[in-house]
Symmetry: C2
Subunit: 219 residues, 2 copies
DNA sequence: TACTGTTTTTGAACACGTTCAAAGATGTGT
DNA sequence: ACACATCTTTGAACGTGTTCAAAAACAGTA
């Protein structure tokens, strides 16, 4: 009975997320999750490889749902600033209730070995889809982009957004007001930067930057 | 007998670092460390709050010793590029044998709550001293720096260096060749960037950047 | 229904980092 | 020398994430 199995899996995941939201990732034990989901201690491990895999499952679900919302929102926005903002809006709105435990996902951000890192092999599918959104945000905006920089821009914007989210997660000001400020100011700078980097006068500098990016991206 | 106590502490720390270097942080157990140091299981906890505290102790020792080396190397270098390079040289040389387990220190880099993070309260003393080196590297270089940006520059350079180290830790190319490339190219860009950002024409842009930085740094 | 193979569920057991009460060693004042 | 206090050491025990062999439930076939 495949339906029953899926049902149990869902019950475990929901119990886990509920507890993660209420008391954070670290404070929640696998035993609690099992109890809340009315299964035995080791049951969760039949459906999920590890405690972190539960967060990963959330991340995959979130990516799926946010992807739809972004695809729906993008066509309504024209300029590059508006288009970027609408992507950010979807993400922040979606992540808001889960801010408390998202640190578990982004806390290991710097370690590409960690499965939960946004840079890991395990999250590459999600990352790829996300990159496509930023590519599409650029394409549909009518913004002129230098040919040499163009292939790297989606990833740069993705990185920018990742930095913002990271800042937001650890932003302790009321209602994350500082993140709101940072978002407005940085968005403006991103747009200005995009315009400036196209100036013919800056071509030599741009070449060096592109070369640097290529080095970071690897052979 | 204070000497004996210090001796035991040292023995435990050295056993730990030896094992960390040989088999990494995660693969080393506290029981192994205790055994290697010829003490009981719980003994390490009398001298160190936690397993991570052992890494922190290394970091403090490292900061101390690197600080001396940097202070000795800086006066020999003139230009800002050479001065920055000598700081980087000291760090990479010192960290090289420990690259394997430094991930334990920088893996949680993004999480300022984690004591081991370079952004945490616990590492602030080390960070502060480090910032002073970058400030001194700038001052002694004769590089003209805009007044508004000046107070932020040490931290920016410190961040830049932190990024390089992070890249190095996870650089899987032979002998970390990619990091070497990245270091040369990025150092050049940093110097160019410093010159450019002083152009009067770029003053409005600079103002916005400084404002952004101030937002990130917090009220 | 009875048999067989597969999927799901269970809870005891493991290794780990960590805590802690108790014992032992050392130092100090009389 | 003795008593007392402080510093050091010990190893059992705890809570955690995780593993696993065994049991149970289920599905398909006869």
């Amino acid at each position: 009975m495949a339906a029953k199995s899926a049902e149990t899996r869902k019950r475990i995941l929901e119990a886990a997320l509920e507890l993660f939201r209420r008391q954070g990732f670290d404070r929640t034990t696998m035993r609690e999750i099992a109890q809340e989901a009315d299964v035995a201690q080791g049951a969760a491990y039949y459906y999920f490889e590890s405690k972190e895999a539960l967060v990963m499952a959330f991340y995959e679900l979130a990516a799926e749902e946010m992807s739809e919302r972004i695809a729906a929102a993008l066509p309504k926005a024209k300029g590059i600033d508006k288009r970027l903002r609408s992507i950010l809006d979807v993400k922040f709105e979606y992540f808001a209730p889960n801010r408390r435990f998202l640190g578990a996902l982004f806390g290991h951000a710097a370690d590409p070995q960690n499965p939960l890192s946004p840079f890991s092999r395990e999250t590459s599918a999600i990352r790829e889809r996300d990159l496509a959104h930023f590519a599409s945000a650029l394409e549909g905006s009518g913004t002129a982009v230098p040919k040499d920089l163009a292939p790297h821009l989606p990833k740069l914007l993705w990185l920018y957004q990742m930095g913002l989210i990271l800042f937001w997660i650890y932003d302790r000001s009321d209602e994350q007001k500082r993140t709101a400020q940072l978002r407005e100011k940085s968005l403006g700078l991103v747009v200005t930067g995009l315009k400036m980097i196209s100036f013919p006068l800056l071509r030599p500098l741009r070449k060096r930057i592109v070369d640097l990016i290529a080095t970071v991206e690897g052979a």
